[in-house]
Symmetry: C2
Subunit: 299 residues, 2 copies
């Protein structure tokens, strides 16, 4: 990440925070002897692989935007990364998207077999709630965070979006359906990441609404850019195979809107997200810089 | 269930409570339009199939043993059944135990395909935490319940036990390892079911310790009886294929201890569980009757 906005140095901040997130994730998965070694290895293989940590970064930035130090939101940040990683592990399975590369290395099932990959995903999903329930304080906030996180990961959001995404393969391109899928498959977890940061910071309803406005726009922009990168990017840059969406008959924004219109929409959505970040005044600089970075991934 | 103990009519109570549990589970899975129809059907197929509802029954009985009305514990009871069902759906997958029958009907993947079955399990696991976080009151209790439930479902308990169970196939029979697997694979969820009932009833630490003592014994007895039924039962009685443990080279209590010694141990453990239930006085009659029922399944 290299974008800067005003006096906010995104590169420096995200580097520091990424270290903090990675260290905490490593600590959470430093399991005792009751966790089978192969399971622990499979979990750590997927969770600790170098990643952008976009979602946990959003948790921390939202927490700071609402006036708290980012440290308070580290457990919630780790929980969303655990759920994100679980969803990647399960999406990569042979019965789903059948991907053998992820984050620049063999995907979980490619390295540890299907049974262990299924269980590694299951374990991360459960542990995410243990982390939030136990380490978010005070308990009333922990309960609300658990509820919102579970809803975002549940049958009408993350899981429902993935089910519809699988079903939409080789279907007719359809913008409304495509947006509906990604609002749930990608958008819900991005949104709840921001809300968890806000909840930890005891945000007002007005602040939470600003985070929703920012997240709704950023989430869609992120997905459009992700689709563009799959068309245009290289496996070296992305750490996963490219051109797979088209091979698989997946409905994507470039396929539905064309490349140029997809790029224009992403730009427009990022501008709108930056606008929403402005509601936090100077404290929103991190969120604004992160939105700009999402768009710049495509340059 | 037909056992009775003193004036406590287990059959009548469990029938009433089973209706209440089933109605609440049906309500929780009466999804809106954002949940894909096939996913919703797969979830309901597995969750609402006729079952003993042993774990939710334990939640309700523990709640009453600790002095609250069982109604207060219905959300927690539904959550443990959701997690139990998710674990059955995933355990039945081709990459795991590869079972095509469950609860007297086709298993989830046999009917809806692997991808949908994986997602149905994922959705139930997430939703269980939504239910606890949202519907258990007050929020401090909800947070503690989420934390304990997540720990029991996580990498060192339910998931770790399943991983070790898969790895132990065709291994040397070994009582210590077998007990270690089932303490985590079956025992942890039985234990936490009881503790959730206690926590909802604002139980004292002493009451929670009595529930732990009861649960540790009952959980192991239950697993021994389950293994015995797999050797001796019929598919009609169980709603799933029998004799599969042996075909699959699974380590079971009858294989390690022999039939007679397995029966003796189950009896002994049930007696010890009933003893622990006695610490609740007359309010423990339900727990005692349920322990007796677990043993009688084998007659």
């Amino acid at each position: 990440m290299s974008a800067t906005l005003g006096t906010f140095d995104l590169a420096e901040t995200t580097q520091l925070w990424r270290h903090a997130i990675d260290a905490r994730l490593a600590a959470y998965t430093d399991y005792g002897s009751d966790t089978p070694i192969q399971l622990a290895e499979a979990i750590r293989h997927s969770l600790l692989a170098p990643g952008k940590r976009l979602r946990p970064m959003l948790v921390l930035m939202a927490c700071e935007a609402c006036g708290y130090d980012h440290e308070a939101a580290l457990p919630a940040a780790c929980a969303v990364e655990m759920i994100h990683t679980y969803s990647l592990i399960h999406d990569d399975l042979p019965a789903m998207d059948d991907d053998d590369m992820r984050r620049g290395q063999p995907s979980c099932h490619a390295k540890y077999g299907e049974a262990t990959a299924i269980l590694a995903g299951d374990a991360l999903l459960a542990q995410a709630f243990e982390v939030v329930a136990t380490d978010v304080q005070p308990p009333e906030v922990a309960a609300r965070c658990c509820g919102e996180l579970a809803k975002a990961a549940g049958p009408d959001q993350l899981v429902g979006g993935q089910q519809d995404d699988l079903a939409a393969q080789f279907g007719e391109p359809n913008l409304e359906q495509l947006e509906r899928i990604h609002r749930r498959k990608t958008g819900a977890m991005i949104n709840v990441s921001l809300r968890l940061g806000g909840l930890v910071a005891q945000a007002s309803e007005e602040q939470l609404a600003a985070l929703d406005a920012y997240g709704g726009r950023l989430g869609l922009a992120f997905q459009i850019v992700d689709d563009l990168l799959d068309c245009e990017g290289t496996a070296e840059n992305l750490g996963k195979r490219t051109g797979k969406d088209a091979d698989r008959g997946k409905m994507t924004f470039p396929a539905v809107l064309g490349l140029e219109e997809s790029r224009r929409r992403a730009k427009e959505l990022v501008a709108a997200a930056i606008d929403a970040a402005g509601r936090f005044g100077p404290r929103g600089a991190g969120l604004a810089a992160l939105a700009r970075y999402v768009e710049e991934r495509n340059h």
